[in-house]
Every structure is written in C-alpha cells, then in structure tokens.
C-alpha cells in the first residue's frame, strides 16, 4: 500500500484527492481542475484505498453508489411488477392447485405465466428478499466507507489551508489587507455573531457552522437500516403473528399461535343504523343504500389453560376476562390483539322436524336435531322414537349407495333415520335432506316433516402480535431526523488567510445553499474590509455557456 506524502508532510492514504491536512491537490486531475471536488472533503473513500483480497472486492462492490442505485432501481421495478396482478395472499383460493387454476381462469395465459414465474408471491420470494438484503448491506457498507473518512477529515482539518486549496474553492477572493491587524479581530467577532465556530491562528481564520448537517445522510441510512432490521425480525418466531380464526357462537377454540389461550364466542352482533335515531346525519344515506351497519361485535370470553394443563384438556380452563370485540376495539392480552374482521350470518345450528303420518297428516310430535352434537335417538314419549343412523353435515350425493359429506360444516345437512311408531313397530327407514326425501326400503307410512331451523353466526377474527412496531417507528423517526438534519442545516466554512505576499485571501464552501454563505461572507467583508470575492462556479458556467454558443 502506497501512502501519498504531501508537501506539507502529511501522510495520506492512497486514493486521496486533497491532502487531509493542508488541502493541496494530490492528483494530477485535481491539480488541473479549476475548482476542487469537495465531496467527502477529497478523502479517499475506504473502498478506493486498496483492492486486493476477495473480501475487499466484495466490500468494494457494496460500497459503490452505482451498485446501490442499481439495486434501488431493480427493487422498484420488481415491486412494481408485483402490483400488476393481485398477490397470492389476496386471491380467493387456497392450496397450490386452486391458486394456479384461479390465475389461469381469471387472467388467462398471462396469469398462468405470472403464477408460474412466481410473481404471484413476489414479495415473499427468496430473490426479492435477497435484493432487499443486498440493499441493506450496500447501505451499511457504503455509509461506513464514507462517514468514517469524512469524520476523521473534518475533525483534523487545519485552520490554515494551502493557497492552492483556497484558489480552487468555488468562492474565492484575493486582495490587499485594508485594516491590518484589525481585520482578524473584526472578522472573528462578526463570524461569532453569525454563530460560526471560529478557529484562529497566526494569520488564518476558519469559521465553521452546521457541520452536523453533513451527518444527515448517514443518520438517514441508519434509520433505514433499523427499519429493515425490524422487518427482518418479523421472520423470527415470537415477534410477529398474523392469523385468522373463525369461531361460531357457543364454540370454544384454541387461539392460534398463542400460549394456551382459548376463546369462547358468546354472541355475534350486527347492528344497523336506525333511521329514527340516527336522525339527519344518516337519513339520506339510509334512504339511498337501505341499511348501514353501525356495529360489528363479538362478545367473547377469554380463557387460559392452567400452566400444567396439556393441550386437549379443556375442563380446567381459567377465565381471564369477558370482552366485546368491536371494529377498532380489539381484545388485548399478553401482547396479542384479536380484531373483529369478518362475519358470516346464519349457519345452520339445529333443525326441527315433525314426525307425521303421510296419509292423515297427523303429527306424533316434534324433534330437534342439534347439528353440532346430534343424539343417537330421539324419544317422542308416546311410544314413538326417531333413531339417527347417519348424519351428513354437508351432503354431496351418494357413492355406491352411501351418502357422502364433503365437509364437517352443516351447509347441507342430511340424515338417515329410523322412525318407530306404535303403528309401525318394526321401524321405517328414511333419508332426509333439504328438499329431498328418499325412502330406500319402500314406501313409509310416516315421514319427518321439516319445520324450521335455528341458526348461529360466525365471527371472523384476526389474531395479531407485532413486537417490531416500535422498531419500525424508531427507524422511521431516525430516518426523518436524518432528512431534516441534512436538508434544513448547511455546513458552511469561511477561510481567511494572509498569503506569503502579505495579501488577504478569502474562500468559502458550503454543501448547499450558496446564497446564504455568500450573504454571511458579505456581512463579514463589510465589517472586516475583506477583499471582494467571485463565485468561480458562475464564471465557469458562463465560460461553458460561451463555449457552447460558439460550438453551436
């Protein structure tokens, strides 16, 4: 590794453009420039210092701003592609086959392609997450590579810089000292009045303010990194839970992903606005739409199983609390929130039948079959009974003469029953379904006549726990602090030197808002009689313009 030793004796790492101490240009390129490039104070970005081992090569890859920007663009494009069709999560299908079929059916060949390329689950794909991870590495490496040399360089900057440094500043002036020694004291006073930190040595003044604005971008990156870290934590167990559960009125169910909690639904309530009571506010809307829901609510009891209880042991559940879950009023416990998200009304709960004589229409009594917990036999008390031979909650047809059910949910209940009456002591077999009665063993004298149903509602609840939220908020806050720091403050420096010939040289630099630093310098010039300065950038620009005019 070759260090560059400046004329002033300061040792600079390879790749340095401007001497860290006196500011002399160290490269031929810098020497030939009219204005110096003040980015990172002309220090060697760490990645540029050497390029030898494989680790350094990887490091340099991530340190590159070009790579960082390319990653951002690739991620943006990919994220945009993910919005063309709905993601798997929002598709009303479950199971790989159904989902594939859904994409093809709804979106045609393009949908099929989209699904097969894995774009339907883009944000969860390994390659998208890898890109985000690489962006994270890029943020960290590129920031470290720049902030450390910049910090060191600003910390050890000298008050007196070399004339060649001064001359190459955008704002530069050279002239006679009109006030002699006075000019130093007056400059210092005025700079201090303008809230500059002033360093003074023999024949040189450095006024500096707002250096911390230079850390803005890095604070900003830090915020982003914290944010990404928070998102990363979601993948770890215990930090993030997002589950749905359906619970019927009267049911007790284990709450998914929670340590031994059970929920019992007492009642689901759907309320609508009453035209009379809601008055003027909703009157018009109610007239237009018909009904407007005013409340979705599930009354629940939260239970916890005792420490020593095992899954499946439900007789010893301890009641934790009763609560009403409403929209925006979740049930909260141990970091979990249970939200009211969805509902289904009127699932069949029980069915009532009349056992009646087909010929005379005479009824022998009524039975009620609980669809959740049917009984084996229903005794009507007058020597008649109905025995349940089979129950098919979601009847889907016969297979080899055997009734089938396609789910355990009572969507289409059907029963195989044996009816015994004093008149028919041997019993008659009948298959009873909604709108369908089959008498497999010949004509019966009696039938089960459908009366009515009892129904119950189902609540759709979301169980959520997010321990990363405060990390995301912190990351966002730090991000914004960084933005403000870099945007609303400027790093300004004003150098005043006595040259070897006894003349006065002034130079100024800022990272943004040149008008303000000129105003500051004007104010100092006025009291301290500094030589007039020129904005060499303007000169350069106007020369370029002239060149441009000529060539066109």
């Amino acid at each position: 590794m070759n260090n560059i030793i400046c004329v002033c004796g300061h040792e600079n790492p390879e790749g340095t453009v401007l001497c860290g101490s006196c500011g002399r240009p160290l490269t031929e390129e810098a020497e030939n420039q009219k204005l110096v490039d003040m980015r990172y104070e002309g220090t060697a970005r760490r990645s540029q210092t050497f390029n030898k081992s494989i680790v350094d090569k990887i490091w340099n890859f991530f340190s590159s701003v070009k790579i960082g920007v390319s990653l951002i663009i690739i991620i943006l494009v990919a994220a945009a592609i993910g919005t063309i069709l709905p993601q798997v999560l929002y598709v009303p299908a479950t199971g790989a086959e159904d989902i594939a079929a859904y994409y093809e059916r709804v979106y045609g060949t393009f949908g099929k392609l989209y699904y097969e390329l894995g774009l339907s689950d883009l944000y969860g794909s390994w390659w998208f997450q890898t890109l985000i991870g690489m962006l994270g590495i890029s943020l960290i490496v590129a920031s470290l590579d720049r902030v450390i040399p910049l910090y060191k360089s600003l910390k050890k900057q000298r008050t007196r810089r070399h004339e060649s440094f001064m001359k190459r500043q955008r704002i530069f002036g050279l002239g006679e000292n009109q006030l002699g020694e006075d000019t130093w004291t007056k400059s210092e006073e005025k700079l201090k009045e303008l809230h500059y930190h002033v360093k003074r040595e023999d024949g040189a003044i450095l006024g500096e303010k707002g250096r911390f604005s230079r850390w803005g971008p890095y604070i900003n990156h830090l915020g982003l990194i914290i944010f990404l870290f928070g998102v990363m934590l979601r993948a770890l167990p215990g930090f993030y839970v997002d589950e749905t559960m359906w619970i019927r009125e009267g049911e007790t169910r284990a709450i998914p992903e929670t340590p031994g909690y059970y929920l019992k639904s007492e009642e689901f309530i759907l309320e609508t606005y009453d035209k009379e009571q809601a008055g003027e506010v909703f009157e018009e809307a109610i007239d237009r739409v018909g009904t407007i829901a005013s409340n979705y609510q599930t009354d629940v009891v939260l239970y916890k199983k005792p420490e020593d209880a095992l899954p499946g042991q439900t007789d010893k559940l301890e009641e934790v609390k009763k609560d009403s879950i409403q929209v925006n009023h979740p049930l909260k416990f141990e970091g979990f929130s249970v939200f009211q998200m969805d509902f289904r009304l009127d699932e069949l709960r029980a069915m009532h039948f009349n056992l009646s004589n087909k010929a005379s229409g005479e009824s022998l009594g009524e039975i009620s079959i609980d669809l959740v917990d049917p009984e084996k036999s229903y005794d009507l008390g007058n020597g008649s009974k109905v025995e349940l031979l089979g129950y098919y909650p979601d009847f889907s047809g016969f297979e080899n003469g055997e009734p089938q059910t396609k789910s355990p949910v009572p969507n289409n209940p059907a029963f195989l029953v044996k009816m015994t009456t004093p008149e028919t002591p041997d019993g008659e077999t009948s298959f009873v379904a909604i709108k369908q009665t089959v008498e497999p063993l010949g004509d019966n004298a009696y039938k089960l006549e459908f009366q009515n149903v009892e129904t119950r509602d189902i609540s759709g609840l979301t169980v959520r726990k997010d321990k990363t939220l405060w990390i995301l908020a912190l990351g966002g806050l730090i991000f914004m602090i960084g933005v403000a720091q870099g945007s609303y403050w400027n790093h300004r420096r004003i150098w005043i030197h006595e040259t070897k010939e006894g003349r006065l040289a002034v130079a100024a630099h800022t990272n943004k808002n040149w008008l303000s630093v000129k105003k500051d310098l004007d104010a100092v010039t006025e009291v301290a009689g500094l030589p007039p300065y020129t904005d060499q950038h303007d000169l350069e620009a106007s020369e370029e313009k002239k060149d441009g005019e000529k060539s066109s």
Binding site: M1, N3, F50, S53, V55, D56, I58, W59, G124, W126, Q129, T130, G133, M134, G136, I137, I140, V141, L144, M232, R234, A235, L236, P237, T252, R253, A254, P256, Y262, K305, L310, P311, G312, Q313, T314, V372, D373, P374, E375, K376, L388, L389, G390, Y391, P393, D394, T405, K406, S407, P408
Partner: protein, 178 residues
C-alpha cells in the same frame, strides 16, 4: 501498515459475515414459514390429553417407551376413511410389539365419530380434539396427517396424505421400540 490491513480485513470480513448470516437466516425462515413446521422431525412430540369414545383418557406421555402412531382425521375426509381399515389391521399386528395407534378426530360430534368407528369396526382408541388445541399444537393442516412418535417421545416422521397398508406396516415397524 500490515497491521492495519490485517485489522481492516478482519473488520470487513466480520461485518459482511454477520450481515449475510442475518439475511440468509431471514430469507430461510420466511421461505419456510408457509409450511410452518413448528414441529420438525426430531422434536419432542407435544404432550396432550384427550378423551376417547369410551370416556377413557389418553395422555401421550403414558405411552413413553412405546411407539405411537398418531393419526389426525375427519369423517368427511375420504383418504382418511380409506386408510382406516388398513390402520386397524396393522394395529392388531403391532399392538403386542409396543406400537400404539391413536386416531385424533378434529372437533366433530360424538355421533358422527361413533358411527364412523362402528361402521368400520375400528378397535384402536379414537379421541376427539374438541377445541382443536391438539391440532394447533401439532400444526396439522391437511388431513390426514400422521405423526410417527418413537419410544423416546420424539417425532420420527411426519406423513401428510393417504398411506397404503404397506406404508402403514413399514411406519409402525420404524417406531417399534427396541
């Protein structure tokens, strides 16, 4: 100079390694999240206790020292129904060799389960998971799912989908205690 270079190499390598490990771990866990196998082969099988149709309590830990063929099922699930008779036959073969069969029904009514077991003449204990808490603990998604639990109470294998009689025999053989 050689020293700073050495230091730099170590610092850079460690930063990169930490970042890469963190990212790879994150991607790995989120990629496998869908099939959340909170339970994996080699894990301790979560203990539970459920009551069978005869009112008898079955606690998994009571079967320590035996292999347990733990089958999750429902009456509406056709592959479940298909494998039941084969399971029953193999249960008769292996019960004397220390392999217990336990069928866990997912929250159905006594009537349906009883009728099903009568229809198929099942002899092994059938328990009902009324609150789905055992299903939750074992993270059962498709039915049927079968867990092979060895004599040490560790999960030996997780099988989702229908099994042939041959499969069942070889699985029971696998968890036969020494």
């Amino acid at each position: 100079m050689a020293q700073t270079k050495q230091k730099r190499l170590i610092v850079r390598t460690s930063i990169l390694v930490i970042l890469v490990v963190a990212i790879v771990y994150t991607i790995y866990t989120s990629a496998t999240k869908e099939k959340v196998e909170v339970l994996a082969v080699g894990d301790e099988a979560p203990n539970f206790t459920l009551v069978d149709l005869n009112g008898e309590e079955h606690r998994l830990s009571d079967y320590k020292g035996q292999g347990v063929f733990l089958n999750f099922w429902g009456t509406w699930c056709k592959p479940c129904a298909k494998e039941m008779p084969a399971m029953d036959r193999q249960y008769e073969v292996f019960r004397s060799q220390g392999v217990q069969t336990l069928a866990v029904n997912i929250a159905q009514s006594d009537f349906e389960v009883q009728r099903f077991t009568d229809q198929y003449g099942l002899d092994f204990p059938v328990v009902i998971d009324r609150t789905k808490s055992v299903m939750e603990a074992y993270n059962i998604n498709p039915l049927p799912t079968t867990m092979l639990i060895n004599q040490d109470g560790k999960i030996e294998r997780i099988i989702t989908g229908e099994m042939t009689e041959q499969d069942i025999a070889s699985f029971m053989e696998q968890i036969k205690p020494d």
